[in-house]
């Protein structure tokens, strides 16, 4: 079952992969991906519903014209789900892992655990601004995913101290001991930096999920 949620002028597709009772698990895909159609094996023991969101410009969500993407706007995509579904636990792949960190810091009461996993778009454009460039995309390329999303969200700057400020907020304000768990093997500078913060744990996905299932 797929529901349509509205974020500004964008219609977001929120897929329900499995029913359940209790807090939902929300899956965030990587850059250029779309939501999976079946719940992953490691989520089989999750008691609540399993949801998956197509980010703006991906899957069945709206493809805006002329780009202008930022990870903060994708954080707004996830906040639209929070507004609709209430508190949830998040698993994010790649780009979705970075967005999961942002929303965990920005809505610390609503995000009951964020698991950061490997996936496309994990590094973004690196820790600081590179040489500026004028992007151009092939507007005739098959889409979705939106070619502007692919171009812009692989170049956005992700400063380590910006990432740690979100991790600190999650830790200070969520009331959880470890609101963020890193399951990713690859660690770009922003991810390396948050690992030094209190409240950021390292664990495989299944173990992280089991521990978040046990928190209020």
């Amino acid at each position: 079952m797929t529901r349509v949620l509205r974020h500004g002028r964008v219609e977001l597709a929120l897929h329900r992969l499995a029913d359940g009772t209790g807090r939902p698990l929300l899956l965030l895909h990587g850059l250029g991906e779309r939501s999976v159609s079946e719940p992953p094996e490691w989520a089989a023991r999750w008691a609540g519903p399993v949801l998956a969101l197509d980010f703006t410009g991906h899957g069945s969500s709206t493809m805006p014209r002329a780009g202008g993407y930022s990870c903060e706007v994708l954080m707004g995509d996830v906040d639209t789900v929070v507004a609709s579904e209430g508190p949830l636990t998040i698993h994010g792949r790649g780009l979705g892992a970075y967005v999961a960190l942002l929303i965990a810091g920005a809505r610390p009461a609503a995000v009951r655990g964020a698991i950061l996993a490997d996936g496309p778009g994990l590094a973004g454009g690196g820790p600081g601004p590179g040489s500026p460039r004028l992007l151009a995309v092939d507007r005739a390329a098959p889409a979705p995913p939106d070619p502007w999303a692919l171009a812009e969200l692989s170049l956005d700057v992700r400063p380590p101290d910006y990432a740690t400020s979100f991790a600190r907020q999650a830790t200070h304000l969520s009331g959880l001991d470890s609101p963020i768990t890193v399951a990713a093997v690859v660690r770009p500078p922003w991810l390396e930096a948050i690992l030094d913060e209190p409240g950021v744990a390292e664990a495989p996905v299944a173990a992280a999920l089991a521990s978040y299932a046990a928190v209020d």
């Binding site: 509205r6 974020h7 500004g8 002028r9 964008v10 703006t56 709206t62 805006p64 014209r65 002329a66 780009g67 202008g68 993407y69 930022s70 990870c71 903060e72 706007v73 954080m75 707004g76 906040d79 639209t80 507004a83 810091g105 920005a106 809505r107 610390p108 600081g128 601004p129 040489s131 500026p132 460039r133 004028l134 992007l135 507007r139 502007w148 812009e152 956005d156 700057v157 992700r158 400063p159 910006y162 400020s165 600190r168 907020q169 200070h172 304000l173």
Partner: protein, 306 residues
């Protein structure tokens, strides 16, 4: 709440509406472009600031046009009469600027930017030096913001409320509308952000940057846009664009701090200037240097380009 026809015909001494206007398609977003002066004259591109629109140049542009230039300005996406978009970003604004440039000429041309438009043109000059022959920056050189000395935990709370405020705004964004009012009310509201600009000027600007709905005047700014920057951008990143610029550069700073400006001092930017760049500090002038002192700015620009 309705206004009389007289009110819509507000004029301002020295202000001249563009001689021509047209639209440019920027990857699907219609961009409103305005021109003053002889179409055969050499072009100069004018870039307005955030929450502003091309009519901010209605005083300066005619002076440059009369000085022998084809002056081209545009409303940024979501501003003035340009199209509203689903997404907004610095990079998208920069691409829109290039689309406007390409509609005029493919060779390098002088560019002038105010405030955010100035910082945007710094970045464009770095990204595409082959498109920019001269760079004029009007009170648009960001400097390092000094954070108040607060304990870490307190800063976390401040940032948290900023973030939730931004997200709360976006939750309403689908149904947001700008607040209606009379021309006088809109000018008075704007005056709180631009305390040095006269109400006469602000009322003139309202009649261009706002539209008349049945329940009153509303700014045309996309209700999806929110004042204030957001994201990992830092002002000093903008400054790191300048030392390597190869084209001549003129910067003009308003020395009186206002809510919309960066309060940059000449000493803040001096170490970052490219060789030969000139900075002019304008005493007793606020952030909108081109509205407060159009003749002084025009003369400096015309001399710089001559």
């Amino acid at each position: 709440m309705t206004s009389t026809a007289d009110e819509t015909a507000i004029t301002f001494p020295g202000a001249r509406r563009p001689d021509r206007s047209r639209r440019v398609d920027a990857s699907g977003v219609p961009i409103a472009v305005y021109e003053w002066g002889d179409e055969a004259a050499p072009p100069i591109l004018l870039s307005h600031g955030g929450f502003d629109f091309a009519a901010t140049f209605d005083l300066l542009a005619p002076l440059l046009a009369d000085g022998g230039w084809r002056v081209v300005a545009w409303d940024q996406r979501g501003h003035g009469d340009s199209g509203h978009s689903s997404l907004y970003s610095w990079e998208a604004d920069m691409r829109d600027a290039v689309a406007v440039m390409s509609s005029v000429a493919t060779r390098a041309m002088p560019v002038l930017g105010h405030s955010k438009g100035g910082a945007l043109m710094l970045e464009l000059a770095d990204a595409a030096p082959y498109r920019v022959s001269h760079l004029v920056n009007l009170d648009g050189l960001p400097s390092k913001v000094t954070h108040p000395d607060v304990v870490d935990r307190e800063r976390t709370r401040l940032k948290a409320s900023e973030l939730s405020g931004w997200l709360d705004f976006r939750r309403q964004a689908a149904t947001n509308q700008r607040k209606p009012g009379t021309i006088h009310e809109l000018a008075a509201r704007r005056g709180r952000m631009n305390p040095r600009l006269s109400q006469d000027w602000l009322r003139y600007i309202v009649t261009i940057g706002a539209r008349q709905d049945p329940d009153g005047w509303r700014w045309k700014f996309d209700p999806l846009l929110r004042m204030g920057g957001f994201g990992p951008w830092r002002p000093q990143w903008s400054l790191t664009r300048t030392p390597g610029l190869g084209m001549p550069m003129l910067g003009m700073l308003g020395m009186v701090h206002e809510p919309m400006g960066w309060a940059t001092q000449p000493d803040d930017v001096q170490p970052y200037l490219p060789p030969g760049a000139r900075i002019v500090a304008l005493e007793d002038t606020g952030h909108f240097v081109h509205v407060e002192r159009p003749r002084v700015i025009a003369d400096a620009v015309l001399e710089f380009l001559s």
